[in-house]
């Protein structure tokens, strides 16, 4: 290769490599801020600030959703498999909100460790199945005598 071209090739590699290192260090330093939400275990261990607008995320614990009869108020537990946080919310839920599904809630953590949410977002997973296939999967577990219940298993928040 011509020496001049070789020199320019090294220049190009230099740009790419050093830009990568710079951005890599930057995002490593800011990694806590890039996370969209706190998982329940970090909230319980006291890593999340109290009375500041934050987001929490996790799986809605099956059986924990508690709706009030005469208003839109509800509360539920959010889990990441290790800890649970109580979330209170008043408003309309997205269509995909369900027990055993992931959510991200926006709001403030109060002094009692209860998350007062102002917004609930459903975090849908990456699987796509036709309804027939999904119902077959449910009914086969029923035939085996296992009571079908939605679970939070298999949701990995430990990254």
């Amino acid at each position: 290769m011509h020496p001049l071209r070789k020199q320019r090739l090294f220049m190009v590699l230099f740009i790419v490599i050093f830009a990568s290192i710079a951005v890599g260090l930057l995002s490593f330093a800011l990694r806590e801020n890039i996370n969209l939400f706190y998982p329940p275990s970090k909230i319980v261990s006291g890593e999340a600030p109290i009375d500041k607008r934050i987001r929490a995320g996790g799986c809605v614990l099956p059986g924990s959703v508690n709706r009030s009869g005469d208003s839109l108020d509800l509360d539920f537990l959010v889990t990441d498999g290790r800890s649970e946080v109580m979330v209170r919310y008043s408003g309309i839920l997205p269509d995909l909100f369900a027990e055993g599904e992931a959510v991200v809630v926006n709001g403030k953590l109060d002094g009692d460790g209860v998350f007062q949410a102002t917004e609930v977002l459903a975090k849908h997973d990456e699987t796509y199945t036709p309804p027939e296939v999904a119902s077959i999967m449910e009914s086969t577990t029923d035939e085996q005598g296992v009571e079908h219940q939605k679970t939070c298993e298999g949701l990995d928040y430990d990254s």
Binding site: R8, V16, I34, E119, L121, H124, D125, Y128
Partner: protein, 247 residues
């Protein structure tokens, strides 16, 4: 010389005459793939058990996002070749890739917002995936703006190639953002190393659409580059002959 084929590839005239013959074939394949894929995806693929019909937006969203990322590498590699070998055709390809990539990124962002409203409950969330995709859109716009900012084409090409190269850092970040950080955006469905978490009846039309988008990208890049060749080589004899014959 081992490098001879490479230098021949750098001839705009050679590219223009070759693509003349490639375009009809490629256009036919693209149209077939996109029409079959779209009809299959919208008419025959089953609805999703949880999301219902709204999931069908993946048939546009996913291929557009794929090409927005892949197209950035096309632009940056063309820019690098232009910088190192001073190859005219590479500079033209780099300039042509920017508006196509910007359009695809915009398409991915808009379809994502439309999808986000019914599934998440929000049009826009500042999570790592969506924000880094927005940065990609601005990088494309930056290359377009730099192309127009200089009197001399050679300076413009050099400046935008450097921006394109610096911006390549963003591509793995976009790709891995859903694994590295907690995001609202779901992780990848199509995986190279393990089984995809999508039912085959929904996967096949998606693959058709992705291949169709790749062909469409190649086609659009050829058209843009050909227009750029005619523009930049307007003083050469063969372009004058070509334009004269068309009159």
């Amino acid at each position: 010389m081992a490098w001879q084929w490479f230098y021949r590839l750098g001839s705009p005239r050679w590219f223009y005459e070759k693509t003349n013959r490639w375009i009809p074939w490629l256009a036919t394949v693209t149209a077939l793939l996109l029409i079959t894929g779209a009809v299959w995806a919208l008419g025959f693929a089953p609805a999703d058990a949880k999301q219902g019909n709204s999931y069908r937006i993946i048939y546009i969203h996913v291929p557009a996002s794929f090409l927005a990322l892949a197209g950035y590498y096309v632009m940056a590699i063309a820019g690098a070749i232009g910088l190192i070998w001073k190859m005219k055709l590479a500079d033209m390809v780099m300039k042509s890739a920017a508006p196509i990539g910007a359009a695809l990124t915009f398409m991915a962002l808009v379809t994502g917002a439309v999808w986000g409203k019914p599934t998440w409950g929000a049009w826009w969330v500042w999570d790592a995936r969506i924000t880094s995709m927005l940065v990609l859109f601005f990088l494309y716009l930056g290359v377009i703006a730099l192309q127009g900012a200089y009197q001399h084409q050679a300076t413009a090409d050099k400046a935008s190639a450097i921006l394109a190269l610096v911006g390549t850092v963003n591509i793995p970040i976009i790709y891995k953002s859903v694994d590295w950080w907690y995001t609202l955006h779901q992780p990848a469905t199509l995986k190279l190393t393990s089984a995809s978490s999508i039912h085959p009846s929904m996967l096949y039309p998606l693959l058709l659409m992705i291949v169709g988008f790749y062909c469409f990208y190649a086609l659009a890049l050829m058209f843009y580059t050909r227009a750029e060749i005619v523009q930049r080589e307007r003083r050469t004899a063969w372009v004058n002959e070509l334009v004269g014959a068309a009159k």
